[in-house]
Amino acid sequence: MTSTEATEPLSRARRRPVEPLLPEGEARASANVCQAAGCLSMQSDLVFEALRERVVAAGLGDVAVRRVGCLGLCAAGPLVEVPERGRLFDHVHADDQAAMDALVATLAGGEPGGRETSKEPFFSHQVKVVLERCGRVDPERVEDYLATGGYQALTQAVATMSPEEVITEVARSGLRGRGGAGYPTGLKWATVAKATSAEGKYVVCNADEGDPGAFMDRSVLESCPQQVLEGMAIAGYAVGAHNAYVYVRAEYPLAVKRLNSAIRQAEREGLLGSRVAGTDFEFHVEVRIGAGAFVCGEETALLASIQGERGTPRPRPPYPASRGLWGRPTLINNVETFANVPAIVQRGGDWYSSIGSAKSKGTKVFALAGAVVNTGLIEVPMGLTLRQIVFDIGGGLAGGKNFKAVQTGGPSGGCLPEALLDMPIDYESLAQAGSHMGSGGMIVMDEATCMVDVAKFFMDFCREESCGKCVPCRAGTVQVHRLLEKITRGRGTREDLALLEDLAGMMRSMSLCGLGQGAPNPVFSTLRYFRDEYLAHVDDHVCPAGACEMDGGDR
């Protein structure tokens, strides 16, 4: 990564005006204005302010105007939802008088007019557990979270359940790590709970969402940070840890800001801190900010980074569950994993395991992006097919183009072709197809995308992000990238293809951590499903998609 320094302040979002407009008592109607990254990039902060002014001017005293987190359908942003009337307004701009008029009229209870987004089919098939409160609560008001039943699970756990009971419930739910590997969460918790340490244990939330094309964790942290904190506190109670860190990428300044404010507010409410929910359980959370290193998403590298070191991985075992932060037992889970926990504790593991497929329980949040009509944030039960996601929820390909592939799992995932569209999405099926769940980025590619070029893109990424500790990854990524460069310039040979497969196999089996082991996956999966594209580059010196410049190059 070259840098992202300037992503720093989402400046206007930071200059918060005043409290949201909330009426005395129950609101008759409310306007939820999305303030997550997607809509903010379309200036939805100005929409919020403009709408407030309009509502005040119209004298609507019993109407609430709220800033909320992600409403999901980012493609049509800025979005404003009026839940009481079941209406979602898209492309609402602050200076669009017609849109504002329609909104005010709807809030006032008049005949709905103006432009409206159909909620179908984008919202069909979706089941919301993690995103249950996204778009319903103001991410910067703990009161909103409490009003929707927030922290009831934590209170229930610390007051009425033993740590073992909590772990049993999580194990029964069948929840598996949502960071990508899919390790059973209950088992991990039980391991950390069993580990003994006189100096204490730690809980760490991995929010170093580095996969390009993935923005689930960002959206959850920006939309409902309290839910993640509650999940962490429950985990702390279950495993016997009193201190916790959330490790967030530096590229997500808004998430950092909302998380910090959420921690302060929860402490003020006595829901985090030295006496959680009035009991003797103590739980302190601190935020640690990354500094632009993809490898820090690997758990041992992440721990090194929290300790102020270079983020390089180390061999496992020992696993962090026995020797983690400062050598003490440490539980590391991903943002989405923690966000699932409150609902599991509250509604029971059996309820959770009733959602999903045989081996992959519950729901999964995906960030749907690329050449699809409805880009955005979705949450679906495990076992849905790729076709349902791309064509029903995603609305098919943008611009009437033809589908070519869907990429899942980021730089260590794979590209799946049309023939696999009816495959159910779960950990096992994806792995079998040569990709993996990853954290949940899903990028749809159309016929104009060259698959060799895509493989090169990911290899370039891994080459730059390789930490350099082990040779197979440090040197392998460079060599494989060189070969791909040669092929995309029309200078490759059949021998190069064979060498490519050899080298990639070596990297997979010999690298130290997931970055190097997974780096060849895009190469393998594109070779497996799109070999003819490679052959066209090599034998005929043409790029079928027309994306590569076959200039011959210097090599």
Partner: protein, 140 residues
């Protein structure tokens, strides 16, 4: 530093703060951090160069970050970079001769649904085209 209790493990946090205050990390600053935290200069320099977020050179007055994450890449981030190079002679990692504008690229801003995205002085803009990118930079 005081807030972090001069603990060596606060190194990354301290470097963040220094960079926020001065815009980049020069040798003097790194030396000072090293002495204050009791961390060897080699380690401070090692950490500062390991993480791409830390800048060892001064940056332009304004910054433009072009996202080159997967979604932005396939939706035309390359053509944005080409346009900036063509019109301003600006390559990723470079700064204009008058010190007005630095161009950086990011691996993913998480604004994939609005790809391709750029960030100009902290403000994210979605669905940027080669035609609109210059207009966004002009009024700086």
């Amino acid at each position: 530093m005081r807030r972090l209790g001069h603990r060596p493990d606060g190194l990354i946090e301290v470097l963040h703060t220094v960079q926020e205050l001065f815009g980049y990390l020069d040798e003097d600053a790194l030396g000072y951090v090293s002495r204050s935290l009791g961390v060897p200069p080699s380690k401070v320099f090692g950490v500062a160069t390991f993480y791409s977020h830390f800048m060892l050179k001064p940056q332009g007055l304004h910054t433009c970050v072009v996202c080159t994450g997967t979604a932005c890449y396939i939706n035309g981030a390359r053509s944005l970079l080409a346009k900036l190079d063509e019109e301003l002679g600006l390559k990723a990692g470079g700064t204009t001769p008058d010190g007005q504008l630095s161009l950086l690229q990011a691996r993913c801003l998480g604004a994939c649904s609005m790809a391709p995205a750029i960030v100009v002085d902290g403000q994210v803009h979605g669905r940027v085209t080669p035609g609109t990118v210059l207009a966004l930079l002009e009024h700086l």
